[in-house]
Subunit: 318 residues, 2 copies
């Protein structure tokens, strides 16, 4: 037995999801309090402009640009006190995330305010920028909700290029937040079925994997079993990690797993789901396929970790 | 190929770490704002008493008790406004986490204030309670640092038995925080070596796996590669998830992985580590062994996820 996958797959599952592949050199160990001012003063600085979870994209004829230089950024009324240094590109360009105050309603026609999920689904920016965009929107959302100290209520100030915040009164240090969510495909290996559900807030016809926040005091595997049981009544035995995905709405880490069902009778939590059912391979394949062809039922789009969990079960699962 | 481990191991690696195995029924979907008052009024209620990250344990002759009934709890000056309903035991006892104000210095001789890590290492409470203890200390630490709204600075109030907090001014909802940390054993599969380091704050002679916080906008695998490279200069190719562990200091999720080294020359970050080196199997086995026998070099104790990563590489890795 090897501790590594020996099936020869060159690409790890986590590299195939949207928002993976962030290539920035974060240089988190070399950050001092001058690094942001230095980055802002650099001619090669490029920034994401973020407002209420949406990125401002400039139309450039053929498509959209998510990165703005200093002058372009200035037009959006940037809040430079809360700018965050994300890291450096392969050509050593400083890359920033900057909250902006210009109202989306007041944007010129050539600029669109679009959430990261829509940006990836519509392919509005290059795939290689999606990871940086996730980092940018997550950190701006975190900074926005950590302007005051949760312990004493006094204002906080940024440190280390915005990657930390520090209370001005009690010195508490605040670090970026990432919320682990388990998302799992429960599989009935005897009958070769997988379990999918739909939440009332899904687009019409969409079925996906069950998911929920990991809670304090549980392992990933325990969270998979608890969430699956709470939402569907299905008991899970073995759990197998498959892939992870940064999901910047606002700052989540999706942890994708397979769970081996050890019961089959569904008892759906109707406050969370409006349907939950077993799909055989042909049905699951149709669900994935209709994503492309259009139809009444569909899976989450390619790039979503749920899509990969279903797809990879169809391809490899036995 | 199966999506599940087919080696027939009955026990998943995550079930063998300390703080795993929390059996409480959290009933998170059935919580209303009366659930805490109902739990506090119950004769069968039992509570963990937490002060500054330490649990108050009552000596009972043979050992220690971590759970207190209402009268025992009252002696510690409990802050019941910030009590948190953890869930229900298998016999339907409400289980609470309660911050207490009695100073550890003023405790009677029969009560000790001890941090969760020491409690597990010294085996002071039953293994089956450690997961609940992790949940309790994590949630109290979170609640303590979320008494004020990070967005507007106004006080927050508990909801849903303390499992959420809500701003009294802007209505922002605050949810428990869990910080994902990647901890990894880098393995040179050609020379059959593993990479361990020691931080200056480790006990003398201790070597362990490298580790670091996962950052926004990266996958688990990317975090493993980034952290390993930052701390040791070693490049990692394939990454394989092994196990996870709740680590309540204060509210971390340890995500344990193997990483296949694709370089061998160490360039240690001397601000993070005071030593970092390759160990062959005999050396790693000695490290694990001396944990028990005493000696000048040792690994983290059994129960620590780093111990399992090293142990399981020795047992299974090839």
């Amino acid at each position: 037995m090897s501790i590594f996958d020996t099936t020869g797959s060159a690409q790890e599952p986590s590299s195939r999801v949207a928002f993976a592949g962030n290539r920035l050199d974060r240089q988190s160990e070399f950050r001092d309090d001058d690094c942001l001012a230095e980055a802002l003063a650099s001619d090669t600085m490029r920034a994401f402009a973020i407002s209420r979870g949406r990125a401002y994209l400039r139309a450039n004829g053929a498509g959209f640009e998510a990165l703005h230089h200093a002058e372009q950024l200035a037009a959006f009324d940037p809040d430079l006190d809360n700018a965050i240094l994300l890291g450096f590109s392969e050509t050593n360009q400083p890359r920033l995330a900057v909250p902006v105050r210009l109202d989306p309603e007041e944007l010129p026609d050539t600029v669109k305010a679009i959430d990261p999920r829509s940006i990836y689904i519509q392919g509005l920016v290059s795939v290689s920028l999606l990871g940086e965009l996730a980092q940018a929107t997550s950190l701006v959302a975190w900074s926005k909700t950590h302007q005051y100290c949760g312990r004493c209520g006094h204002p906080t100030r940024p440190r280390a290029g915005g990657y930390r915040r520090e209370c001005t009164a009690c010195d508490q240090m605040l670090f970026p937040r990432t919320d682990p969510v388990v998302i799992m495909l429960a599989v009935d290996t005897q009958s070769d079925l997988c379990l999918l559900g739909r939440s009332p807030h899904f687009p019409p016809g969409m079925y996906s994997c069950l998911a929920g926040f990991l809670e304090p005091g549980e392992t990933i595997e325990e969270a998979v079993r608890r969430e699956t049981h709470e939402e569907s009544g299905i008991r899970i035995g073995r759990v197998s990690y498959h892939a992870s995905q940064p999901w910047p709405m606002p700052h989540t880490l999706m942890i994708g797993c397979y769970g081996e069902a050890i019961s089959t009778k569904i008892a759906m939590d109707s406050r969370e789901l409006e349907d939950c059912r077993w799909f055989n391979r042909a049905e699951a394949a149709a669900l994935i396929g209709r994503q492309i062809e259009g139809g009444d039922m569909r899976s989450p789009p390619p790039g979503a970790i749920a899509h990969h969990l279903i797809h990879d079960w169809l391809t490899h699962g036995s």
